[in-house]
């Protein structure tokens, strides 16, 4: 089981390495969206600092949505999804591996780049740390729930827009607790409870996400 997980993660990373543009596009999209807001709202430092966490989080959600539709679609088109489903490994392990690889390629880079955006908005150092911690806890949730949405909309025409409609509402708790943690740090309150709640959301998504994605994939392959 562990071997199959590692095998699929290695394959996804190798494929991403051969197509560097795709993963990089998501990262650039994230940076560009987050950098657009100051042009719209003006250079007022206090306002920028107050809205920083929310802007970074919304940009992260949108970046996750942009990267999601291709998660299973490419494998469906060339028949490899069928091969993965017909392999002697539980489909949940394979889906879990694909989600893990997706997070390594999108969520993790977002979390690592976020301090740069935070600086742009004038966040103090301790708030930057909380922002990264919150992103590290929250972005896996985006990959997990997004995978379920991607599986549900597999093979649907115009699935990208439908995927956004399906999944974005599910991301609301992540947005609330994620931005809340940074807000708490800014106003000198302990951000621990927010981060704990994010962790709880992650634990629930770990249980629900792959299971829902598997059920949807079986229907798509049927």
């Amino acid at each position: 089981m562990g071997a199959a997980f590692g095998l699929v993660v290695a394959r996804e990373l190798r494929l991403a390495l051969r197509r560097k543009g795709e993963a990089l596009n998501v990262l650039v999209f994230f940076v560009v969206v987050a950098s657009l807001f100051p042009f719209g709202v003006g250079p007022e430092p206090a306002m920028l600092q107050a809205m920083a966490a929310g802007v970074v989080w919304v940009a992260a959600l949108l970046a996750a949505i942009v990267s999601m539709p291709r998660l299973f679609a490419a494998d469906l088109a060339d028949g490899t999804l069928e091969q993965l489903a017909a392999s002697p490994h539980p489909l949940a392990v394979i889906v879990g591996a694909k989600v893990a690889a997706h997070w390594l390629l999108t969520g993790l880079p977002l979390a690592l780049v976020a301090p740069l955006l935070g600086l742009q908005y004038g966040l103090p150092a301790d708030a930057l740390g909380v922002l990264v911690a919150a992103l590290l806890l929250g972005t896996p949730v985006l990959s997990l729930l997004g995978a379920a949405g991607a599986a549900l909309t597999l093979g649907v025409r115009g699935g990208g827009a439908l995927l956004a409609l399906l999944v974005l509402p599910l991301f609301v708790p992540v947005l609330v607790f994620g931005a809340g943690a940074v807000g708490a740090a800014l106003s000198g309150i302990n951000p621990g409870p927010h981060l704990s709640l994010l962790g709880a959301v992650l634990a629930v998504s770990c249980l629900v996400g792959p299971w829902a994605a598997c059920a949807a994939l079986r229907v798509a392959l049927d």
């Binding site: 088109a77 060339d78 069928e82 017909a86 002697p88 490994h89 392959l221």
Partner: protein, 206 residues
């Protein structure tokens, strides 16, 4: 060993076949024939456990495949209509991944040998996106030539897009597999020069 009992299949609300049954013993070949849209691919996907039949069940060594799950898929090799080859990986990498995914490991020499058996050894380091349709098919079918292949082969149109040389190579592999006591279920439109004894080769018309 492989048994289908009163299988029925529906696609899009339209019945394709019903009360379909057969039994295959080790060393036997089942060739599924039928017009376009008669349900050949659906039958193979049901046998592979990818599609649920509308009625009936498939049994492997006497047990329903739904209950066997991973244990059944370990003994089955399914090659579908799409080749299942990743464009961005080389031919050798694709074969290596397919082999590891099936739970086996193959040394570099075995990978090279399997590609040689399909006549595509020189394509090994080439990304699959440069392959022609027939070469892609050969790259997918190279799994058949790996040592320690699963006993049950389910091949959907294995000869499509192959030239005469390729058909001969794949037919020889199937023949050797049957001679070694394996089972082969394949769909095909054309006559195939399989070296199986007539008694062991059955034909199913849909």
């Amino acid at each position: 060993m492989l048994r289908a009992d009163s299988l029925a299949c529906e696609r899009g609300g339209r019945p394709l076949f019903a009360r379909l049954g057969f039994a295959l013993e080790p060393g036997s070949l089942l060739r599924v024939r039928g017009a376009n849209g008669s349900g050949k691919t659906s039958l193979l996907r049901i046998l592979a456990g990818l599609t649920r039949p509308a009625a009936g069940e498939v049994r492997w060594r006497g047990e329903a495949i739904g209950g066997l799950d991973d244990a059944y898929r370990r003994e089955m090799l399914f090659i579908g209509h799409a080749a299942g080859v990743k464009d961005d990986m080389t031919v050798a990498e694709n074969l290596d991944f397919a082999c590891r995914l099936s739970g086996a490991t193959a040394a570099g020499a075995e990978i090279a040998g399997a590609l040689e058996a399909l006549g595509i050894a020189r394509l090994a380091p080439l990304p699959a996106r440069f392959l022609s349709q027939g070469q892609r098919r050969r790259a997918a079918l190279a799994r058949l030539a790996l040592p320690g292949a699963a006993p049950l082969w389910l091949l959907d149109e294995p000869f499509a897009a192959l030239d005469e040389d390729g058909i001969g190579r794949v037919a020889a592999l199937c023949g050797a597999h049957l001679a070694a006591g394996g089972l082969v279920v394949l769909t095909s439109h054309q006559e195939v020069p399989l070296a199986a004894p007539a008694a062991q080769a059955a034909e199913l018309r849909l």
